[in-house]
């Protein structure tokens, strides 16, 4: 039975690797970074008084089981540099920490994931200064390292969350919805509130696409969050604090904050164009990978956030579905 090459070892890659390896198919997983885990490995639990179902817990069992799995080889600091299509599979030429490796594989599973918003790219939102402004992923890692009563060194008094930062905005070149930002912003805000009960939190939202069914706005206001429907147009940050400006009902409003969290969304991976060229995939209008022909014919599968914005549980489910179909393909080939 020929090996399967999995590109990327994030949540989706690991989920696929596990279900393939458990089905008895040999798997080679390559990872560009130094360790397995991808983006979600540094995300923290966002539970406040109770679990808020952020989905980070789903990755834990995956990452611990991947170390014990049979049939599974992991190469870190490795990337795909060339691919030769043959009659019954591919010959992949890998660049493993400077060394050239040649591997024969049967099929390829792409779970290369997404990129974070490049720092400094803020579209038509004018930002001056950098102090007291953090990105969503920085808050995530702070929440991972938190103790029961402390996240930051100094307790913040007023915190603002800017939703849809770098998504649903053509001036960013991103008109799609990232689908995860309102979720993680809300959960992080609730977690902050439970750790610092006196903190004043303002949420600057516009779209609320992927909020769960339920009376979201009313619940949030009752829980003491200030919900402002707007699109902020200027943020001035200095060591004294942050001023955020927005227009509403024909007037300009201003708010003073101690900390401003920019909830950036999911951007297509920088390697997508290169990967598409190597693997014979296409890049859709938003920059995510898409298959041209059915994967059963080409032997190249795409899953997880390489395909488009999705949350952790969706990415894992997607990868599992693709892996199941892939295993069916392999078994059919073996039996014929």
């Amino acid at each position: 039975m020929k090996k399967i090459l999995i590109i990327g070892s994030g949540a989706a890659g690991c989920a696929a690797a596990l279900s393939l390896a458990e089905a008895g198919i040999p798997v080679l997983m390559i990872e560009k970074a130094k360790s397995v885990g991808g983006k979600t490995a540094v995300y923290g639990c966002k539970a406040g008084a109770s679990c808020t179902q952020c989905g980070v817990c789903l990755t834990g069992p995956l990452f611990s089981r991947i170390k014990e799995a049979f049939n599974l080889e992991i190469l870190c600091e490795t990337s795909l540099s060339e691919l030769i299509r043959e009659e019954d599979g591919f010959t992949a030429i890998l660049n493993s920490a400077g060394e050239k490796l040649e591997v024969k594989v049967g099929q390829i599973f792409v779970a290369s994931g997404f990129s974070h918003l490049p720092v400094g790219d803020s579209g038509n939102l004018r930002i001056s200064g950098t102090s007291s402004i953090i990105y969503g992923e920085q808050l995530e890692s702070a929440l991972r390292d938190r103790t029961s009563n402390k996240v930051f060194d100094t307790a913040p008094g007023r915190v603002g969350f800017v939703f849809c930062f770098g998504s649903r905005n053509p001036s960013h070149g991103v008109s799609y919805c990232s689908k995860v930002c309102c979720g993680y912003a809300t959960r992080s805000a609730k977690a902050l509130k439970s750790i610092y009960p006196d903190v004043e939190i303002s949420m600057f939202f516009m779209d609320l696409q992927s909020v769960k069914a339920g009376d979201y706005l009313k619940e949030m206001r009752e829980a003491g969050f200030e919900m402002i429907r707007c699109r902020p147009n200027r943020i001035d940050a200095s060591e004294k604090g942050v001023q955020i400006y927005w227009e509403n009902n024909g007037g300009v409003h201003k708010k003073e904050l101690d900390l401003c969290v920019l909830c950036g969304g999911i951007r297509p991976n920088e390697d997508n164009v290169l990967l598409a060229e190597l693997l014979g995939l296409s890049v859709d209008e938003d920059g995510f990978l898409a298959t041209v022909l059915p994967s059963e014919q080409t032997g190249v599968w795409v899953a997880g956030t390489a395909r488009g914005p999705m949350n952790i549980s969706d990415a894992i489910a997607d990868a599992k579905v693709k892996a199941t179909r892939m295993a069916q393909c392999v078994k059919r080939e073996v039996s014929t």
């Binding site: 539970a47 390292d145 696409q209 009376d215």
Partner: protein, 444 residues
């Protein structure tokens, strides 16, 4: 493998076709017949959602409109769709509203249509396209913060507030759009012993379970909302679960010793997965291997100690290690156990993996205290338990153990509980450090 389907969803045709394509025998049944099936029989329930007739019934729409037009002798009355009044609308409901609103604009004499919502959630499936089409056909979309409806002579008046402004709209034809679970769903859940989750929904209640999964290993509730986004993904997930049911039930499974069983139904009441069923002939409970998830809650509560957890692969469950260190940490396999090694690396702590906090009971804690100075129990966050309430049960047991220690005149602080996810390592580490340090101070 035969699958039983019941319910009256819009997706019935799609689901049947998909299952047949994947070589499954599908049998549709009446609701009552389906409920009368055996517990082990895998069953998929597709309840339709309850919605107003204006969204689904064409004749009802025509009748209402002709009546109202005659009454007012005007043709330009606006039809107002009010969404999100009590709770946010589901994707399926938004789709119905968009389709109906578009259809009203595409009549021979188009009617003004207003759709009011707290936010338009169109990021799913083809809703974005549908939303654009509706806007292009002339549907007016309003976003509001709060809404109230007043009754007037000519129908209703809707008062919307948004950002400090108030808008009043006269609406002779007002459609208050809301969807709800059907009454049958509640009956189904009661009969199958399924607990409702967030928003009192029975399906997809927990994110760590596949969509539609109910906590019972062979029962799925797939309502229209669950199936809306990616029906194929959801159904493939369900089929994978069905496969697992056949091939490998669960790694750990509970077994009843029928000579010891007191037939008291305690395990039947406690089990979150509905696995124990009474066996009248043996006069003992029997735990179904297909339904058991091996959480050990029944073992913890069994007054006759008739239940043992057994590994399906023949290995026995790990015993408490003999006290090499001073502290024993009982770590839930879904949270603390994942990071136990690195968290307790340089501390005098023995860690033991348990399958759920619900497995721990008072006697087990007291037993462990024979060999250890202290026992730390580390379980999942509140409401994050994969077995519904293992962590809250564990909390009660820890309290009970503390009380017992106090009554015996011993130090109640020898037992502690920490609730944290593995993704908040700091919290577990901090709790363990405080626990161990406390001991050191006493030694001095």
């Amino acid at each position: 493998m035969k699958l039983i389907l019941t319910g009256n969803s819009n997706y019935a045709g799609f689901v049947t076709e998909f299952l047949q394509k994947s070589d499954y025998k599908v049998e549709w049944m009446d609701f009552k017949d389906a409920l009368a099936q055996k517990d082990e029989q895998p069953i998929i329930y597709l309840p339709g959602n309850k919605v107003t007739a204006f969204l689904t019934d064409e004749t009802y729409v025509e009748q209402t409109l002709t009546e109202k037009i005659k009454l007012l002798k005007k043709a330009d009355i606006p039809v107002v769709f009010l969404l999100d009044q009590r709770k946010s609308a589901s994707s399926e409901l938004i789709r119905m509203v968009l389709l109906r609103a578009k259809a009203l604009r595409e009549r021979k004499r188009p009617l003004p249509v207003v759709v009011a919502a707290t936010s338009m959630r169109c990021g799913v499936g083809d809703l974005e396209k549908l939303y654009l089409q509706a806007r292009q056909s002339g549907v007016v979309f309003l976003k509001y913060d709060s809404a109230s409806v007043l009754e007037t002579d000519g129908g209703s008046q809707v008062v919307l507030t948004e950002g400090g402004n108030t808008y009043e709209i006269d609406a002779p034809v007002l459609v208050e759009c809301e969807d709800a679970d059907t009454d049958e769903t509640a009956e189904f859940a009661k009969k199958k012993r399924i607990r409702s989750g967030e928003g009192k929904k029975y399906s997809g209640a927990k994110w760590f379970l596949p969509a539609g999964f109910t906590g019972r290993r062979n029962v799925w509730i797939l309502d229209d909302d669950v199936l809306y986004d990616k029906p194929e993904t959801v159904l493939t997930g369900v089929l994978q679960e069905v496969e697992n049911l056949n091939s490998q039930p669960s790694i750990m499974a509970a077994e009843v010793d029928d000579t010891k069983c007191a037939f008291c139904y305690t395990c039947h009441r406690v089990c979150p997965h509905g696995a124990p069923t009474p066996d009248g002939e043996l006069h003992a409970m029997r735990i179904s291997v297909t339904l058991c998830e091996g959480c050990g809650m029944c073992k913890a509560v069994c007054p006759a100690r008739a239940i043992e957890l057994k590994n399906v692969y023949g290995e026995n469950q790990a015993e408490d290690p003999y006290g090499n260190e001073k502290v024993l940490a009982l770590c839930c396999e879904n949270s603390a156990a994942l990071v136990a090694k690195e968290t307790f690396k340089d501390m005098q702590v023995d860690s033991l993996e348990i399958s759920c906090g619900g497995e721990v009971n008072e006697s087990r804690i007291l037993q462990a205290l024979k060999r250890y100075d202290k026992v730390l129990v580390a379980v999942c966050e509140k409401s994050a338990c994969r077995h519904y309430d293992g962590n809250t049960r564990c909390e009660l047991q820890v309290e009970r153990a503390k009380n017992t220690l106090q009554t015996l005149g011993l130090d109640a602080d020898r037992v502690a509980l920490v609730k944290a996810s593995f993704a908040a390592k700091g919290q577990i580490r901090k709790a363990a450090e405080a626990f161990v340090q406390n001991k050191k101070e006493e030694e001095k």
